[in-house]
Subunit: 312 residues, 4 copies
């Protein structure tokens, strides 16, 4: 019982810091999509949103938002990415077929461009829909909330160029994107955020990717709790960015660790997409686009690698 | 010199069997996209094709074509897929963040639903654009023809339901889809194949996936050389299927091993997509659709896992 | 509190089944080597035991007790073993050095010939010395009881050929080696078990290794609780066998799962070594020998692969 | 033909640099143990050598020569070592058995303390006994020269403390241990090297392990060609050291890359053991000891991890 109380205090504390109200801290589950739901905000994707996406495909230009996966990527903590090409197999048959495959070992859903599923983040032991990790977190895979449940995310995408709004090429590490920043940036672009949208935040931080990995990984500018709460209220599906965390790290409140992850994923079923290549969209001022992504159906995984597409 | 000659003989032999002509066997490179090209038929994707795809999105219905990745999948030879959930990390901070990631080891681009890149298949030592494997096949990754070069494939997609044309739920293992079958099935559907299209062949074989893995992996119905040559001439981008090979296995000519792979990938730069979930498209008679896929940018990989989307 | 009670009941129940007494069930920790000990029965290895081992090296004949590690091994549950040889690296320098390495993915301490460390097995959440898994079981490795703490096991080794005692080449799967069997087999050989010894039990089950992997893995003859208790009282260091479990599987009491593992490892700090190649020792009637093994110092691992040596 | 000639030139060149003669460069195979041998200098281990080892076990003191394997080890190039503890499995049965295993991905025979087998190093395409890599180097494992063929190495071990001979705690990176150094160090210790011995060279470089990994990996003091040739002529079984290379890196001749590896492994079937923990032996002046090691039988691997033992 004591632990539950301390969670309550922590979450309410975080809310107070952000100047927002979560209401009663222990009311975040069951989810609005029912107590057995495993798809969270993906439920907001409707045929109407798909057709709204379609309507944004005006030029036939396709942008890849995924970065290259390689051992030299910046990675969190002790994660790794190893790819090897075994000796060529063959030749087989009179037509002498030879072939390559690749052997990969990695925290595959949580390195490089990565989509965070609902099994990724907990508030203490409690994950999305109040699932206790003791009940679903198993060695061979999560038995609930696995990323294979998400399904396709085809919808309207919005890029919010906060760096441009702040008049810089790159926000500073540890810079918290405030509610005013988010609103200001959207106003500057004359973009609105709608229910069922995917929102990508351009910070410029991605320019450190592969050029100064140590700096890239040491901190990050990103969405703070109040800005995140705004997106929650707008009923978005996913929040992404060109940083490894999407949210500001370190949090301005030094007692909090990844509170925006908790606000979005377990409490609201909203996905996070990290290490996206948003620079091309920003450069070409593509603030609205059709967004296409479906996680790899990695059974029982917490996340998925990806190469999502933005099309206009 | 002797080896080159034997390749020549083998390829011409394969052509003869199929009743088609490859012209001079050693004329297949440089590619039509130039001697340094690494994207092959992906070059056929134009803004016009993207907009053609758009025009097919009439209902906002999205189909996932990727299957679930798990250790229990049927796999080729000694390949493996291992996913484990490490002990939950955390709690961190006063907000008690906990998190999961996953550790995956697999021939990731060549297990389950898999996209074959241009570095996958060789005619002897020669791969797409005449690249000799000694020049680009390195332990840490292919230094040319890696799947990170492909880019997005957004185009018109076509499902050819050969099983329905033959009046069966599932073609037999080893059944070669002939040119007449392909033409007949297209006619039955009143579907035409256009330059720049993605063509998916439904055989019904996928119904064995997860229900009889041994049978699934032991053989496969699939496209024969003549049907494949027809698709080459139609200038498609990709040929996929609900089997592990797309082409017929074993080949009717017992001396040939995966000759359709050679015809499509190294000789013509056309991609192959295997183990696709085509059954829903077939059931709902979705013969034309918008197709969306971009390989994971796995640097130096021969292929990519995926969950491509078909939308109508 | 309820959980603790149920553990108590279960352990006492197991003891009752075996007709032996564990004394008070909750008295098994702290260990006899102190509350912070991480080496368990390895503490029984003294210089005198090393010199006793030396005295058994009379002929200079060395036996390898490790089996070959390969993907085709029988493995428990969903474990895997994958080894690949990447493309040869080089040539480097005017002397044209080329080299191979290998990329291995496996549950390396728990596949094939495997040494079970003190972090492997728990009685509920409690492991050796009463360590609660919440305190030491971390994603990046066990922070206590890791196999790197064991150190070298050089001591007198004893082979107990129970198959020969029972007059068979191979005991049946599920056959429980009783106390009478163990005593009878030792008497037949005129071998005694001393404090600090390593005891290897030959069942003949190893003849199924690689010849009928499905049968090998489906069950196993092995030590029952009473025979194991005898070895505990003899103060041995390690119990090994030519089966994947060393203990009988399934246990004659269908409610118990791996109770001998619990008796030996967490409760008494005695190690288990599985899938040993004991057949050569049995054939040549090598019942006493010098035993040499040191686990790989895999930081935070539950076990270690190995190729232990028996020398006479 | 041109390639063979260039190998010849390179090897003769290396010999000239070292002031030693390899005789005719293309006479290094077949090996002295026959054209089909796969064990090389392990053939020098006889019962007499085992009993010679026994005679050195005078005190019953055991030294572990293996270092701890962890992700934080210094590693060569892009190699990696990843160990994860999956979620605890269980509880099973009324006795509530729970268990851990570990998932490891690594170039397991070539990271950390590592034993180089005969399939590790080639002179161009030619490996031990003249085996051409095209004939045995396969994606699923080496089909010849795999480390599973080596067998137990139980013999007299010798530590040569070259650092002490030079009067330093640690030789400099790139310092070449000359023939005079080796002889001087042996004389200082009054140790002789005999046929069938294992020779470990203490350089002090190991003190950088874990304290300055970047420096540790950037270069190494080690055996030069002339000192290595001396050990070849003494007919040793294995040469080891407390560095990652055993040989001097970079070689004083900037055109040569790992020539001592070539001299020992392919040309003479002598093994190399790297990253050994020799500091305790050096500190306690244990210059002669019984040496115990058997590679893991990793089928088709180029090397093996290990924790060899020195006993006196």
């Amino acid at each position: 019982m004591r632990r539950k109380k301390s969670i309550l205090v922590a979450v309410v504390g975080a809310a107070a810091v952000a100047g927002i109200s979560f209401g009663q801290a222990d009311n975040w589950y069951p989810s609005r999509w029912g107590a057995t739901d495993q798809r969270g905000a993906a439920n907001r994707i409707t045929a109407a949103k798909v057709l709204e996406a379609k309507s944004l495909m005006t030029q036939g230009t396709v942008y890849q938002l995924g970065r290259v996966y390689e051992a030299a990527m910046p990675m969190f903590g002790t994660r790794h990415f190893s790819l090897r090409i075994p000796q060529t197999y063959g030749p087989m048959g009179s037509n002498r077929t030879m072939y390559h495959d690749e052997i990969v070992s990695a925290e595959i859903g949580q390195v490089g461009t990565q989509f965070d599923g609902l099994g990724h983040i907990g508030v203490g032991d409690l994950f999305y829909n109040g699932n206790d990790r003791a009940d679903f977190s198993k060695g061979d895979g999560l038995t609930k909330l696995g990323v294979e449940n998400v399904g396709p995310l085809v919808t309207r995408g919005v890029l919010v160029d906060v760096a441009a709004f702040k008049g810089v090429a790159r926000l500073e590490g540890g810079y918290e994107i405030t509610l005013a920043d988010l609103r200001g940036a959207l106003e500057r672009q004359r973009t609105e955020v709608r229910a069922g949208d995917v929102v990508l935040v351009h910070t410029g931080w991605g320019s450190l990717w592969g050029t100064d990995n140590a700096a890239f990984a040491a901190s990050a500018p990103g969405v703070g709790l109040a800005a995140a709460q705004f997106l929650v209220e707008r009923e978005v599906v996913l929040v992404g960015s060109d940083t490894w965390s999407t949210e500001v790290v370190p949090n301005p409140n030094p007692e909090l660790q990844f509170p925006v992850h908790q606000l979005l994923i377990p409490r609201n079923g909203i996905y996070i997409f990290e290490n996206l290549a948003t620079e091309e969209l920003a450069r070409e001022r593509v603030y609205e686009f059709a967004f296409f992504f479906a996680p790899l159906k990695l059974k029982g995984a917490s996340g998925s690698p990806g190469n999502p597409l933005a099309i206009r």
